[in-house]
Assembly symmetry: D2
Homo-oligomer: 313 residues x 4
């Protein structure tokens, strides 16, 4: 029987809540619902153990991980009525670069460091990468901060025989995925795109941050959809949605003889589920590669990322 | 400069209206809007001439094709304010098998016979195929009546060096295409389908026939979508829709940890445009193959058909 | 403190399940969620006791009412994890008119007989009305079978000082209510209706019956909406919906200068909840009137019914 | 036969385009499509003549009104293929208060001044009101700038026997109207509102201004809907929509026993049509009142305004 992957997580937000609750759910039920890859290099969905967790919010520090994930502003729903204690106590995360060694020390016993903090803190992301490198632990950067797409970082991890995965996780299912698929379908069938829009509404803290600092993300969404005829409405932060995201998509096109065709879509999905459904694959890929002695870039992870190595920073 | 393909059409309904109006539109404007294949074996979209037309409705017989296409119950809209006379007078179609030779005679000068009558008249479909064979004219069967998926017909056309395309045209864009794409997308991303439905509403005479004789078509739609979890609501004939079709699709699925995800789609499209956008390719394939001396089955057409040779009758 | 209304129910289907589960829910929680009239003549929502229940299905006979309501094909969801036994055992209902006296006997102690069987069994409906009359128990006919709109029945109940309410309960909230409100709004604002449609999808046994015998109901729905421009698509029985109903409404209109305006609505609602939310008011009106010695027609109930006295049979 | 109302307009934007094109449309066709009040005090829809027009944009000055209305950024569609010259040349509007007399002079022959400039220029609005007062011409303020809800202005107009209508036109049909109607319907039927949102997307210059200065308008929209549970998403400026507005509304509620109910609405409407459909009534009311010697406040107009006299400034 294969040994479970040992994962440390940075950030105890909704995405971590979804991940750790889901791990319990899959172990308890044996279900494979919503799972893209039942096995990655022999590791099943339940073969992942969270062995350490880092956060900076006072309300989470020192608490059991299975309690801290329900601390506001987290609002991902409770999947199981009863979630037993995890035995993992949330540790204080990095505040400045002088603490890299402390974190590296705390990573003893871990195989993978899953960096799942909010985007937009490049120095912090790199400090954790440095700690992982020193500890010989694979690093998975799910944020848009540039680590794995900086060739010097890839080189250092490769030289050390430690895997580096990133940057910026591509959600398992969301408005970009659906919009892109519909536009590709139109193109395949020979229809002519006239106009299109996308509205995204959400209720998480992450979403609120994006609403207040919209530029980069909205631009990258337009890229993700793959057409300059798509107009992105401003993101709407609607607290009552909780961890759900609602997207309204519209596509206006022309077919034979210029006749009109329209598609209107409403998508409702839990954003943190889309992250956890990909993170489960990334951490298994990282652990398996570490065990196999493969360092640096992992090409098998590229399709699960928005900005894999090779993307401009 | 390539010589235009010479096409005779059977049936002067909405699909033929869309085809002949579109041919005028594309020649007049030089546009490629809504066109999947700008060229097929060197033939452009405008390189198709309708040289004969057959119908059985008294209101259409003897009239210029460009007038007959607007005769009720046809309700495909007028694409151009002014459509000049076509010079083609609608001829009386086959009523019984004794008339095969008359039709074969009338096909002189044509390269392709596009069979675009309502589905459900197997003997008639085969009589026209027989006439095409005798006249050395390629046969395109857009109906669900079994001609090209009967191996003995393929053999006869092949022996004669005459192309045979069929059966049952797959629309360029419609509810099956979209529904199938969404379900495939779910599967690719690892989501678990819980339930799904599809409602189709339309206002054409064809639609009214389907509403009154729903079984085969609805069953084949469920097949087209590719999942037995999809429930098909009964077709709704809503006359005010005219030649438009409206479909409501719903998909309920589960992602990571069993969390819910839903997709609701409304599609609005002109049904006859979806037919004409495929017929333009089929007739060009047929004409090119005839000129190249290729008889019988044309593999390049299979992707444009619901029941190509090899499908059970 | 007011004494609870004592109600006997005929039919142990989804509507009865919603009613009795809701009574428990409101007593337990003290909530007024979804309640239109917190009090009717001093009777609160919890001031209703079900004291007898009649059914004909073998699977329900002799069982406690709180178990029998979950027997298939019932599919209204369980509102409370724990529902204690009701103490009411389901009795055999009327099979023929010779049993009127037996039922009248069994109504001892009840103040109201809520007739909540499937529509379409006129003789049965009238036999229960007869039994109620003999027992001096108010009769509430929620089906479309003509009892209260037959003046001779009103006269007999009036002469006996026993209230008679009916016919055909108007749901608290459903596609007709929404569609009617939107069309009235258009009219108030001076917009011109061009076309409109309504599609109804459901998963209950009642819905299946309607799909198989569509005529009357669909016609009455078109009436309920109040415009002959509304086209009703055929009902769709989609078992996976359970007790939920989904409606798609579309309204196309013209405003100033003939410019287009469109409204598309998707409504999702539990059908039996819409019935129970009205039945709770009808049974309280009936009990209060009986106590006050008012017999026959109750004008205060007319707005809650589709076919009150005065409507043609 | 009644004499037409003589109207001068300030602002040659989309709303004026809709108004003057519509006047031509209704006179030409005799239609009453989209009209709320076929007659106001004997004045039909066609009984309105635009006799003067003021603007400040260089591209519009000196041009015939029927040309100037198509000048970008105006994007209301052309209703008639041929619109004959109006004979009214666009005059230079007020730039500062010293020009009040010039404008008053230019109002000779007019009965009503329809102030239809962008909102947010209080001094300008009041300068035009002053000019109207001096010229004895009724004043209609369609903007949110406070004129008619300032009692001192009402007093001055009343003393002069000149009607004053304002402030802030309530569109004939839009997202607030629909949202408000649905929430009122829920309440009437006893459902409990859980949450609700509204997204508004538009493509006019007005819309762009609102997107850039969102606060007041969005707040007033939430008020218009009449519930503090409604969350307003930020406005989205999508140029391709032109003068159309698209709104997505969602309502989540609870019915009997707390069961869930949801409503999703998509509304598509031409914004300037909603303004013109109300302006046609306001100018007829104003002209009729002037002729009848009624000055100051006109109570019959209050229902067509968002901020009639009595509303706080």
């Amino acid at each position: 029987m294969i040994e479970s992957a040992k994962v440390a997580v940075v950030g105890v937000g909704n995405n971590t809540s979804a991940l750790v609750q889901g791990l319990h759910f899959y172990r308890r039920t044996g279900s494979l619902v919503g799972i893209r890859r039942p096995e990655v290099a022999g590791l099943g969905v339940g073969d992942v153990d969270v062995v350490a967790a880092f956060a900076v919010s006072e309300g989470k520090l020192g608490r059991d991980l299975h309690e801290a994930i329900f601390e506001p502003p987290n609002n991902f729903p409770r999947l199981d009525a009863d979630l037993p204690p995890s035995g993992v106590s949330v540790q204080r995360g990095l505040v400045d670069a002088t603490e890299v060694d402390r974190v590296a020390q705390a990573l003893k016993g871990a195989e993978v460091l899953l960096y799942s903090a909010p985007s937009g803190r490049l120095e912090t992301a790199r400090a954790y990468a440095e700690a992982a490198l020193r500890a010989g632990v694979a690093f998975v950067n799910t944020t848009s901060d540039g680590v794995a797409r900086d060739p010097s970082w890839v080189d250092r991890f490769e030289a050390a025989g430690v895997p580096l995965i990133g940057d910026d996780l591509a959600s398992q299912f969301g408005s970009s995925v659906v919009h892109h698929a519909l536009l590709r379908l139109l193109e395949e069938r020979g229809l002519t795109l006239v106009s299109s829009y996308q509205v995204n509404l959400g209720g998480t803290e992450d979403f609120r941050n994006l609403v207040e600092h919209p530029n980069t993300k909205q631009r990258s969404k337009a890229n993700a959809v793959g057409s300059d005829k798509v107009e992105m409405a401003p993101l709407g932060y609607l607290p009552h949605l909780g961890s759900q995201k609602i997207a309204h998509l519209n596509v206006e096109a022309q077919g034979w003889g210029g006749t009109a065709l329209s598609l209107d879509v409403r998508l409702k999905v839990h954003d943190p589920s889309g992250a956890a459904g990909v993170n489960i694959d990334l951490v298994r890929m990282a652990a398996a590669a570490l065990r196999a002695g493969r360092g640096g870039y992992l090409p098998e992870a590229a399709a699960l990322l928005k900005s894999p190595p090779g993307t401009p920073i």
